[in-house]
């Protein structure tokens, strides 16, 4: 089996978000870029599966749609343990463009398990995995918090309100993963970092696409009014405010 992990290159989760040019462009000055947290967990689980089922999983590929500036993030994925990488040379502007480029990669090569994160922490589209499944007419399962291989079948756990479902599925399929898929993301070791330098990173030119959406500008959320402090010896006053002023209890 071949596994493909789709990775998004995103600003570090602590980044202060600022925009330039009349709030039309994200200010990337001084930003640290990381592998989207869910994609990093997906990659970790893919590596665990390869280790646990050495015969069954032959290769792990990571793919990113992005400009050459995303290569440090891709190299990090190789250092964590992916065998090879593909970069589609395009500055993506929405989830559909990304899904379309990914579908072209998958049509050219046969992957059995394709993993996406539930959401890219920059644009919060929560869309690429689903769009990709429909473009390829592959089955998809979303909110996946566990995955394992059982013979030629896969066993998944899907998070539902108040619990989980255990799901059986055959390959090829697209798993859209979330918290739980791996406990902690793997950290690359020295050997991994050295090896990553020589692992193959193929650059593919994009296909052209019509966009359905256009991100025209950004705003900052409304600033909160300042916090009203209540004396710790007067907890009753807090209850009074919540009841009479905020009207929430």
């Amino acid at each position: 089996m071949k596994i493909l992990v789709c990775i998004s290159n995103v600003p570090d989760t602590t980044t202060k978000i600022k925009f330039l040019n009349n709030n039309t462009t994200f200010d990337s000055a001084g930003v640290q870029w990381i592998i989207n947290p869910w994609d990093e967990l997906a990659l970790t689980r893919a590596i665990e599966l390869k280790e646990a089922h050495a015969g069954a999983v032959s290769e792990i590929t990571v793919v990113n749609v992005g400009l050459p500036t995303t290569e440090p993030t891709i190299r990090k994925a190789l250092a964590i343990g992916a065998d090879k990488a593909i970069r589609v040379n395009l500055d993506p502007k929405d989830a559909y463009t990304v899904a379309l480029q990914l579908s072209e990669i998958i049509k050219k090569d046969s992957f059995d398990i394709i993993l996406c994160g539930i959401e890219s922490s920059d644009y919060n589209g929560t869309s690429v995995g689903g769009m990709l499944s429909e473009l390829l007419d592959f089955p998809s399962v979303s909110a996946v918090s566990f995955i394992d291989i059982e013979g030629d079948q896969l066993k998944l756990k899907r998070e539902i309100d108040g619990g989980q479902e255990i799901i059986g599925i055959s390959t090829p399929f697209i798993g859209i993963v979330q918290k739980g898929i791996a406990k902690d993301a793997r950290i690359p070791n020295m050997r991994g970092i050295m090896m990553a330098k020589t692992k193959p990173l193929q650059v593919v030119e994009p296909v052209s696409a019509d966009l359905y959406t256009d991100f025209v500008s950004f705003d900052y959320p409304k600033a909160k009014a300042s916090c009203k402090k209540v004396d710790p010896d007067n907890v009753k006053e807090l209850v009074n405010l919540l009841h009479n002023e905020a009207k929430v209890i």
Partner: protein, 323 residues
């Protein structure tokens, strides 16, 4: 023309989320001079289906195909796309929840429709169709133009609210064309807790962080939640350390919630935590550090020891409820 809403049910019942979508779609339909149709998939009785009329649905397509009793992304997509074609729907509305995230993107490809996800309100313009969505894990908002003829929206929870628009809903049986071979997933087992208020549904959430010191101190949080009819939550380190179950983890990498009232006891207010709770209507923070960042996100705060404040809060709320 129409607006189509995917009216999701949970064990045959709709939730506030579903009614919020209908209310929202009704407002859209007024501006666009059209009507709201809903599609329900699964086993839901007529009395329940009629409730969709209360919020403004004039038609309900009722899909009772027993092969669709559990969620299968592809076949749900087929059913909704066929309903959209039948109703000539120009906008299809989903909730930005697990099911919406699973199906809306697939429907968007099938119908060649632009998708705006995590939308927080009505369009700011209809020509061009412009709408505001959350980005950067609620640290920013984006103005997105959807250019396609058919448009798909997933609405953030509690972004619009519930509005009654009494309408008579015509319930119509609908049988989408689905072949057995289209169904590729098998649900082998379902494990659910029942009788507990779920985090995503709760109007009030009582949450604790590392400042609570240890799992033995959660009695107060549970009691407070119980008297308020609230759900309990926690920060990530608390679930990582096994003090609480993973279902309670809120934040960027856990659950993203928007209750009316969120209590944060002994939570520092890290940016990743705030990403999951900042849309709450009212935030109350109790922290012994006056400089804790949680106070910047909070509406009300007490600088003090949570372990001391909680019992006093319980007593004061009991007194309020008694009067």
């Amino acid at each position: 023309m129409s607006i189509l809403v995917f009216a999701e049910n949970w064990d045959g019942k709709f939730k506030k989320q579903t009614f919020e979508l209908i209310s929202y779609a009704h407002a859209l339909s007024k501006s666009m001079n059209t009507t709201v149709s809903a599609i329900s998939i699964g086993k839901v009785d007529d009395e329940e289906l009629n409730k969709l009329g209360t919020y403004g649905a004039s038609k309900v397509l009722n899909v009772t195909d027993c092969r669709l009793y559990t969620l299968d992304n592809k076949t749900f997509t087929m059913a909704i796309a066929q309903a959209a074609a039948k109703e000539n729907s120009k906008i299809i509305v989903f909730a930005q929840n697990n099911t919406g995230k699973a199906i809306a993107p697939r429907v968007s490809i099938r119908l060649k429709a632009g998708l705006a996800s995590g939308v927080i309100g009505l369009p700011t313009s209809y020509e061009p169709f412009t709408i505001v969505k959350k980005t950067y894990t609620s640290k920013a908002l984006a103005n997105v133009i959807v250019k396609s003829d058919v448009k798909i929206i997933t609405l953030s929870q509690n972004a619009y609210g519930i509005v009654e628009n009494p309408t008579t809903a015509n319930i119509e049986h609908f049988s989408p064309e689905i072949a057995d071979t289209d169904i590729k997933t098998t649900v082998i087992e379902v494990n659910k807790i029942t009788g507990k208020i779920l985090l995503n549904d709760a109007e009030i959430v009582v949450s604790g962080g590392r400042g609570m010191k240890g799992p033995e101190n959660w009695g107060g949080i549970e009691e407070l939640a119980q008297i308020l009819g609230a759900a309990t939550a926690c920060s990530r380190p608390v679930s990582d350390e096994g003090w609480r179950t993973h279902e309670e983890h809120t934040g960027q990498t856990g659950k993203i919630i928007a209750p009316n009232l969120y209590f944060a006891f002994g939570i520092s207010g890290a940016i990743q935590h705030l990403g999951g709770i900042s849309s709450s209507k009212c935030i109350v923070a109790v922290n012994k550090d006056p400089d804790a960042p949680i106070f910047e996100a909070a509406d009300y705060g007490i600088v003090g020891d949570a372990l001391k404040v909680i019992p006093e809060l319980i007593a004061a709320i009991k007194e309020l409820k008694a009067n």
